[in-house]
Amino acid sequence: MAVIQVERKPLTFAERTYIPQIIGGLWVTLKHFFQPTVTLQYPEQRPEIPKGYRGVPTLVKDPNGREKCVSCQLCEFVCPPKAIRITPGEISAESDNAHVEKGPQAFDIDMLRCIYCGLCQEVCPEEAIFLQNQFSMSGYTRAEMVNNKERLYELGGTLPDEHLKWDKKKTAEEHGNAH
């Protein structure tokens, strides 16, 4: 690599007195002084959440209201800070969704631990867990900061996705060609 010698001009007298530079700086700050402020008045004004924002992880349901999570526990396994705790359970035979076989009995995400890495969303085979727009979590106790299953579904809502893989599987089974 060739060495390029940058010639440094000696400072002129005006520059050595600092004064022109100081006046220039003062002029810049004066301009800013009269400019409108750029601050977002937070609790009243909300920031616009960009697409693909990774907020609080939530659980979603499908358009038929079935909880999508099948408690495979992949997210629990992958979660780097071990924020997720799942108690798997069976879906009772009377239920409409008995063919899904498994669902979470309890699903807790400890938001004091979560680092919003998005790995749970990445790993989920059922597209059941999503990091959504919610960005502010607060509470007075540690217990309040653990999102349980109800809260997670409340935050997550429904995924408007007509994929309905388990329903298709059920229909296919009923028609006798399960595979």
Binding site: I22, G25, L26, T29, L30, H32, F33, P36, V38, T39
Partner: protein, 404 residues
């Protein structure tokens, strides 16, 4: 109207005056701290503190009611006035710990020492003027607590004691950051005091030219700048402000003032990026706020002196002194020449100038980065001091030639 006041015993009057000074300086200095936050915020395109509002109940009820007045209340809220009250309350009531490793006596003494020069120098600073009848003659009298003819020297003398607060705080804190802050402050203040003193000498040489009365009074310094326009002649020089015929002096004085008040870009003593908080690292609560107030008091006094010497005091514009203004005003307002009205106008102009200076201080603080310590010393000893000596010699020769 105010005769009863002058019939009070001297000691009572002095105490009243002292209380008046404290009651004036404390809120103004506190308001400056809020102004600082606001100016800083606006320069950085932020709104600054604008949310706090006093509750209707509790100690601050009057403020709380004011805050609910339509338009005025929200405006004050936007300006952070209630934040100021909240800050004051916080500093007063919060726990005031004394660290275990400090030298307790000097540690507590330091903030008290800081307040002494901050509050006493006001006594000799004239803030306005009024017509008074003395021996049948109507003459201009200064509004000042103590009209001594060594006014300037008294200000310099007492305010130079301010450095001990910093040194004491730095030393008594028994912590290396505070200590370094104290050492820096002492070196810096001594260095810039020289240039500062030398820079005002031409101004007083000019005042005390042979045949003059021989005075260092700040009131006379303003009297030097209250002439009217006489066309392009030497007589018009009288109405010109000091800054126009002694720009170098004014400049050196201003720079030295920044250094003396420990303001950015010379805030070596607290240099928060290097020394945590410098000399007041170990302080908290009320003691800390005393240092803070003292800094603003120094700024106020310093700008007042600068205005008196170089920016025409209570004269509104060059060649339009207060007397002319009052003559003009008495066409519209019959009682314009009344001492009270005239005094208020003078004080208003003067305080307005002081506030614009304070704004300038803040403006500079939020514009310039801090000098490095060796640069500060280099500037003080190798640039400003020779410059002020050359300036002094130049004006001495000039004044001597003019006298011939």
């Amino acid at each position: 109207m105010f005769d009863f006041y002058f019939h009070l015993p001297l000691i009572v009057r002095l105490v009243l005056q002292a209380i008046a000074v404290i009651l004036f300086m404390f809120p103004v200095a506190a308001a400056c701290s809020m102004a600082e936050r606001k100016v800083c915020a606006w320069i950085q395109n932020r709104p600054g503190p604008n949310r706090t509002i006093a509750p209707i109940g509790g100690l601050l009820t009057p403020l709380g009611i004011v805050g609910r007045i339509p338009f005025l209340g929200p405006f004050l809220q936007q300006m952070g006035i209630f934040q100021l009250a909240a800050d004051g309350g916080k500093f007063t009531f919060k726990e005031d710990p004394v660290p275990a490793h400090v030298n307790k006596f000097y540690f507590i003494l330091a903030p008290i020492v800081a307040m002494i020069p901050a509050l006493t120098t006001v006594a000799v600073v004239p803030v306005g003027a009024y017509y008074a009848v003395v021996n049948g003659q109507t003459i201009l009298q200064p509004i000042v607590l103590a009209n001594v003819d060594i006014g300037l020297l008294a200000v310099f003398a007492v305010s130079s004691l301010g450095v001990y607060a910093v040194i004491l705080a730095g030393w008594a804190s028994n912590s290396k950051y505070a200590f370094l802050g104290g050492v820096r402050a002492s070196a810096q203040l001594v260095s810039y005091e020289l240039a500062m003193t030398l820079s005002v000498l031409p101004s007083f040489l000019w005042m005390n030219k042979p045949g003059g009365q021989g005075t260092l009074s700040l009131f006379d310094a303003v009297q030097m700048q209250n002439g009217v326009w006489h066309g392009f002649s030497m007589a018009s020089l009288h109405g010109m402000w000091g800054v126009f015929y002694m720009p170098i002096s004014a400049f050196i004085f201003l720079v030295a003032l920044f250094a003396e008040t420990n303001r950015a870009p010379f805030d070596m003593a607290e240099a928060e990026s290097e020394l945590v908080a410098g000399f007041h690292t170990e302080y908290g609560a009320f003691k800390w706020s005393l240092f803070f107030l003292a800094e603003y008091c120094h700024m106020i006094i310093g700008s007042a002196v600068c205005i008196l010497l170089f920016f025409g005091g209570w004269n509104i514009l060059p060649w339009i002194p207060l007397t002319t203004l009052i003559d003009w005003l008495s066409h519209f307002i019959p009682f314009a020449a009344h001492p009270l009205f005239m005094g208020l106008v003078g004080i208003g102009i003067f305080v307005g100038k002081v506030f614009s200076f304070i704004f300038f201080f803040m403006w500079v603080r939020w514009t310039l980065p801090r000098f490095r310590y060796d640069q500060v010393m280099h500037l003080g000893w190798k640039k400003l001091l020779p410059l002020s000596i050359a300036n002094l010699i130049f004006y001495t020769l000039g004044i001597a030639l003019l006298q011939k």
